[in-house]
């Protein structure tokens, strides 16, 4: 029993470790706000930061992170829960360095896959320890998937055939 608990704890620690090492604030909520016909998700994001600008940057990164690893929570009819692009934890574990670089604040390319919506402004409120931002963003999910397939991180539908 003790051994099983120890193994479970080690697996959990490794999973959390891999997620943490890729420099993303993991305390966020991302829900579906709609779909576009150009291969993007519209998402409502709620995320914290020390300053309003930090909170917005964290929210943008969280939106990309959710599309990649957590999936998008559905909201109402017409906004179904969407599965993550990288559904297998083992893929993250074996590509930690790649995702670390991808989410790097200076040289990472994550920013090119998320945009705001013209005329839609983020709502920021003061909370304990900083600011909370609520914002609607667009994440280019097809672009993300194609990039990961090209880099060999995930398999495409036609891989191996």
């Amino acid at each position: 029993m003790k051994t099983r608990l120890l193994i479970l704890f080690m697996l959990l620690a490794a999973t959390v470790g891999a997620q943490k090492s890729i420099n993303v604030v993991l305390d966020y909520t991302v829900t579906c706000a709609g779909l576009t016909d150009d291969g993007s998700y519209m998402v409502d994001v709620e995320c914290k930061g020390k300053k309003p600008a930090d909170a917005l940057a964290n929210a943008k990164k969280a939106a990309v992170h959710a599309v990649l690893f957590k999936g998008i929570t559905g909201k109402a009819a017409g906004c179904t829960t969407q599965r993550p692009i990288v559904a297998d934890q083992a893929i993250l574990d074996s590509n930690v360095e790649f995702f670390k670089n991808f989410f790097d604040d200076k040289k990472g390319s994550w920013g090119s896959y998320v945009t705001g919506i013209t005329g839609v402004h983020p709502q920021t409120s003061k909370v304990k320890g900083g600011y909370m931002v609520n914002v609607t963003l667009i994440v280019k999910k097809d672009g993300l998937r194609q990039m990961l397939e090209k880099e060999g991180v995930i398999r495409g539908l036609s891989s191996g055939f």
Binding site: D37, A77, T80, F161
Partner: protein, 309 residues
């Protein structure tokens, strides 16, 4: 020796598995609800079958769904076989076979199996069902997309849901939203199916039958073992992780399902069920001098008929 092993290793690394064909078709329910069926009287019972040609000729929504799903799958590097092209090819082949003659006046030889095989087939069928419904002044859509493996009868992928009710959106717009909303979840499940196939082998089925002009059956003994047992042992030895299910058997028939066969042979060449069953035919011929006929039925199903060609 080292060179040979290296060549084999490179072959295996570069080898590509046989790609399953995928086709979008309307589900039987949709065909029935939209009057796109044909009725046949067989032994006093009415048999209802989908009329795909009528469906394509009468429903612009169906053409739209097939086109939309086709372009989205092509964007993912997996172009689909189209139902319309398949039906046209069947008609063309039938017409060509009728009029084609050799210089000596001979016609094309065709048996009933060839005729039966001339139907719109694919290795994975994407069956789509939708209906636009009313709730007061608002319209909404219910949408189901199922990925069916026709050889095993299993649903390998699926996505379904109810669209957002709208007062103003046209049915075509609701349909487009439904397709967009569910395609990613469908593809994710299809990807999981392919991943499983690469890890554990292709799941296929095989039917063993006996010609009625032979005295051999599956209870005939060779070296102290019944033929049925010999075949079962061969299947056990040659399936990946010995995974198979013998779902029914008698002295004249046996059906093997959920057989996991390797995607490549020892030379690194891609194989399908026909190639796999041919190996069984060679074994039976070499070891017991039994003549057998192999009749393929797509990538995932094959018949082995014992007692002659």
């Amino acid at each position: 020796m080292t060179l040979l092993l290296s060549v084999l290793a490179i072959n295996l690394l570069l080898a590509q598995a046989k790609k399953p064909s995928i086709m979008v078709i309307p589900s039987d329910v949709w065909c029935n609800q939209n009057g796109c069926v044909r009725n046949y009287e067989i032994n006093g019972e009415t048999l209802t079958v989908p009329d795909y040609k009528k469906a394509l000729q009468t429903s612009d929504q169906l053409v739209f769904v097939i086109s939309k799903l086709g372009s989205m799958m092509a964007d993912r590097g997996f172009p689909l076989n189209t139902l319309e092209a398949a039906l046209t090819r069947i008609d063309e082949t039938a017409a060509r076979n009728i009029i084609m003659t050799s210089k000596n006046g001979a016609s094309i030889k065709e048996n009933p199996i060839d005729m039966l095989n001339r139907q719109a087939k694919a290795d994975i069928l994407m069956k789509v069902t939708w209906a636009v419904k009313k709730n007061g002044p608002k319209s909404y859509i219910t949408y189901t997309l199922q990925g069916i493996d026709p050889y095993t009868g299993k649903q390998v992928a699926g996505a379904e849901g109810v669209g957002e009710p709208s007062m103003s959106a046209a049915a075509d717009v609701l349909l487009e939203e439904a397709v967009l909303e569910h395609i990613d979840n469908f593809c994710a499940r299809l990807q999981a199916h392919f991943d499983d196939m690469f890890a554990n082998g292709r799941e296929v089925a095989m039917d063993i039958q006996i010609w009625d002009d032979t005295s051999i059956d599956l209870e005939t003994e060779y070296m102290g073992k019944e033929l049925g047992e010999i075949i079962e042992n061969w299947v056990y030895d040659n399936t990946m992780n010995h995974r198979f299910q013998k779902s029914s058997s008698s002295e004249t028939f046996a059906r093997y399902e959920q057989m996991r066969i390797p995607l490549f042979n020892e030379q690194g060449r891609a194989i399908d069920t026909e190639s796999f069953v041919r190996q069984l035919r060679s074994y039976l011929k070499k070891t017991f001098q039994l003549e057998c006929k192999v009749v393929p039925d797509g990538l995932g199903h094959c018949y082995l008929i014992i007692g002659g060609k």
